[in-house]
């Protein structure tokens, strides 16, 4: 057992062995999910509450499905529509929920650090499903799993992360995870979308996409987060697409077997050309979604074991 934490709040506190352990278990769940009978009982009797203070369709669905496939009782709470509007603070919401005795809390919040704060106040296990511009650990884990399955390893790869890095929690979690697994990370984007001091994390920063993509094994595109931009980060979408949109011509600079990833939802024609996104030889975007369910099952399974204080008698058999 390498992953012994109570919560999964970010990639930052995880050791590489813990990451490997989660991915190894996730591999088994991929097999389960591809089988005829997609069910396990490892979370039977446990209650999972999905609290999303920010809109989400895919992540919430993925967590819900993961919980249900493991036999948990899953409840979704759309927080942006409820008590927050009535002026309730996050802590009060947490205490209210605590009284319902959930075992697993999956939380997304628009502010960095909000999930950490919540985790300090509740008795159950907390999974961070994205907090502000801080971390989105399960996304980085599913990306890691996708890369490992496509490339056969998750170390010593050249990985380019492209686009709107400053607004992206996905980028932060991936930079940390891929760095811990000893990969070479390149960040490509206009300087306005590059976080300050990011080169100090050991990343190489490129403004020219062709130069940055040279000989990479993995191209990870990010969504341009227009909803987080209060004006003036880029001159226009068409100029952005021209300089930083991934198309066949720019992809030529990467290795011939390089894979293309995107955390979704995509803006076709803004950061990625539709044809590349749909190219089954290059794009692993659909696999990412599939890995998402498996990784979340693995993470919740391991956290539930930690919650019970040890491995469950019923080890996963698939």
């Amino acid at each position: 057992m390498s992953f012994t934490d109570k919560h999964l709040l970010g990639i930052e506190p995880l050791r590489p062995e813990a990451i490997t352990e989660i991915l190894d278990l996730a591999d088994k769940y991929v097999a389960l999910n591809r089988g005829a009978l997609k069910h396990s009982d490892v979370l039977a009797g446990l209650t999972q509450i999905n609290m999303f203070f920010e809109n989400s369709t895919r992540t919430q669905a993925s967590f819900e499905l993961a919980g249900k496939r493991l036999g948990a009782d899953v409840m979704n709470m759309a927080m942006q529509a409820s008590s927050i509007k009535k002026g309730e603070t996050l802590i009060d919401t947490a205490l209210t929920l605590n009284a319902m005795h959930p075992d697993i809390l999956v939380v997304r919040h628009p502010h960095s650090g909000a999930v950490d704060l919540l985790a300090q106040k509740v008795n159950c296990t907390v999974l961070n499903a994205g907090d502000g511009q801080h971390e989105h650990p399960t996304q980085a884990l599913l990306d890691g799993l996708t890369i490992r399955r496509a490339k056969g390893r998750l170390h010593r790869l050249n990985i380019a992360i492209c686009g709107d890095i400053v607004h992206s929690r996905v980028a932060r979690s991936n930079i940390i995870l891929l760095g811990k697994m000893e990969n070479r990370i390149r960040l490509i984007g206009p300087p306005t979308l590059m976080p300050a001091g990011i080169a100090e994390l050991g990343c190489e920063v490129y403004q020219d996409m062709r130069e940055g993509l040279h000989d990479v094994d993995v191209v990870m595109m990010l969504r341009l987060q227009k909803e987080r931009m209060d004006g003036g980060f880029i001159p226009s979408e068409r100029e952005y697409y021209h300089r930083y949109g991934l198309n066949a011509e720019k992809l030529q600079y990467a290795k011939s077997n390089a894979i293309v990833m995107h955390p979704g939802p995509m803006n076709r024609g803004v950061e990625i050309d539709g044809e590349i996104a749909d190219d089954i030889n290059r794009s692993v975007i659909q696999e990412q979604v599939e890995m998402g369910v498996a990784v979340r099952m693995a993470a919740m399974d391991l956290l539930a074991r930690n919650l019970r204080g040890g491995p469950t008698p019923s080890e996963v058999t698939v």
Binding site: S112, A114, D131, Q133, P195, G197
Partner: protein
């Protein structure tokens, strides 16, 4: 009034830059004699043995927020006064960023009255430079001076319109009033909760470049040059702003600068996992900035150290970092935190009290802050070495939002005298 003889002390004289064994005689609230050779007590005199501890001019703290009117549950004049006395602060220069803002002679008179009734230490209120601190129309500067305003400031609200600020500066200049401003480019710092850099990027916090302070200061310097105003920058916290300040002083402008105790003793990494008690305004800076600011206090480029005491209740701090309120209480931790700089070898005690007592008095035109006959006997007796671990619930402030909770500190106030009378005595 009692006549007192404080004997067997180590007297810190920030004006002379000395620490020496000495005795001090007090009559009618004033220092009447300072002697390096032992004085003998007269029969009608109350003698106090200082046991060789340090005796310094009481701290004059520019920029204390007392939450009256408006938010008395956070801090009242009574609680702030007790906290100040316990912290060795003999004069609180209070901020007008209350609700409503102190921008009219009527409100100023109200708080001056409240302050006199409730606090054992001196209170000198500041008034808003513009009405409602909105940065649009200047407040009644003349009437406010008559009502007792010691300086004019919109606190952390920057008067962003240079025309309005220039007019307020020149009007204040004609009346000889001191204007205190917050050097910051507000369009850059809007919404920021951290200083941009690796730490803020990793934590995903909205951040402001340290350059925003330089930009604000540069603009203000240009306007002082234009108007000739008396100007004090409330907090200089970054290395990049220092050369601009140095040039302005060299050019003979009437400019001084302060910094907060938190920016001198903490850095951005102290925020760690989103600890909101470390959220202050401007945000904590890098260690390089902190060191540069400490060096500037040592050389005297930065004149004044303040607590920037800002009480916040638990509710406004127990929120996600971005949403949480800024500010920290510091009346009682100002001295032990400042002594960290002494114990680290960064500052000598006279340098420290030059920034805590002498310079603020000089800038505000007060007779205090000195260790000379004729100065008010506003004094502070302290043990610079006594160690303790701070428990925030023992603070006398109503709000307990200190970043030094559970911190190991050194230095305790033994007694505080205002006009020769003890307003605080440590229970030993």
């Amino acid at each position: 009034m009692t006549k007192r003889l404080l004997h067997n002390a180590h007297v810190i004289d920030p004006e002379a830059g000395t620490v020496s064994r000495g005795d001090i005689r007090i009559e009618n609230g004033m220092i009447t004699q300072v002697s390096q050779s032992p004085l003998s007590a007269n029969p009608n005199e109350h003698a106090v043995d200082c046991h060789g501890k340090y005796l310094a001019p009481g701290i004059i703290d520019i920029g204390v927020k007392v939450c009256e009117p408006g938010e008395r549950h956070k801090e009242s004049f009574k609680s702030a006064g007790l906290a100040a006395a316990a912290g060795g602060i003999t004069t609180m220069v209070t901020r007008p960023d209350t609700t409503p803002a102190i921008d009219s002679p009527e409100t100023l008179e109200f708080i001056a009255r409240r302050a006199n009734q409730a606090t054992p230490v001196n209170v000198m209120p500041m008034a808003a430079l513009t009405k409602g601190r909105n940065g649009r129309e200047m407040s009644e500067i003349g009437f406010l001076i008559d009502a007792g305003a010691i300086a004019f400031t919109d606190c952390d609200h920057v008067v962003s319109n240079p025309k309005v600020f220039a007019r307020a500066l020149s009007y204040a200049c004609a009346l000889g009033a001191l204007v205190i401003a917050h050097p910051q480019e507000p369009t850059l710092s809007k919404g920021a909760a951290a200083t941009s850099g690796k730490f803020a990027s990793l934590r995903g916090l909205p951040a402001v470049s340290a350059m925003a302070e330089r930009m604000g200061l540069d603009r203000d310097i240009a306007l002082i040059e234009m108007t000739g105003a008396r100007y004090h920058a409330d907090q200089i916290t970054t290395a990049r702003a220092l050369p601009a300040l140095e040039r302005a002083k060299a050019n003979g402008l009437d400019i001084t600068a302060g910094t907060s105790i938190h920016h001198l003793t903490l850095n951005e990494l102290d925020v760690a996992d989103y600890r909101t008690f470390f959220k202050v305004k401007p945000p904590l800076r890098s260690e390089e900035d902190r060191k540069a600011v400490v060096a500037a206090v040592r050389t005297g480029l930065i004149d004044i150290i303040s607590s920037m005491h800002t009480p916040q209740d638990e509710e406004s701090k127990r929120l996600p970092f971005e949403e949480a309120a800024s500010g920290a209480v510091a009346l009682e931790t100002l001295l032990p935190a400042a002594l960290r700089l002494f114990h680290a070898g960064d500052l000598e005690l006279p340098q420290l009290f030059r920034a805590l007592s002498f310079n603020p008095a000089k800038r505000l035109g007060l007779p205090a802050g000195r260790m000379t006959p004729g100065a008010p006997a506003d004094l502070l007796l302290f043990d610079a070495h006594a160690p303790f671990v701070l428990n925030r619930f023992t603070l006398l402030s109503k709000s307990k939002n200190t970043p030094f909770d559970e911190a190991r500190m050194q230095g305790r106030v033994l007694a505080t005298f205002v006009a020769g009378e003890p307003v605080y005595e440590a229970s030993i």
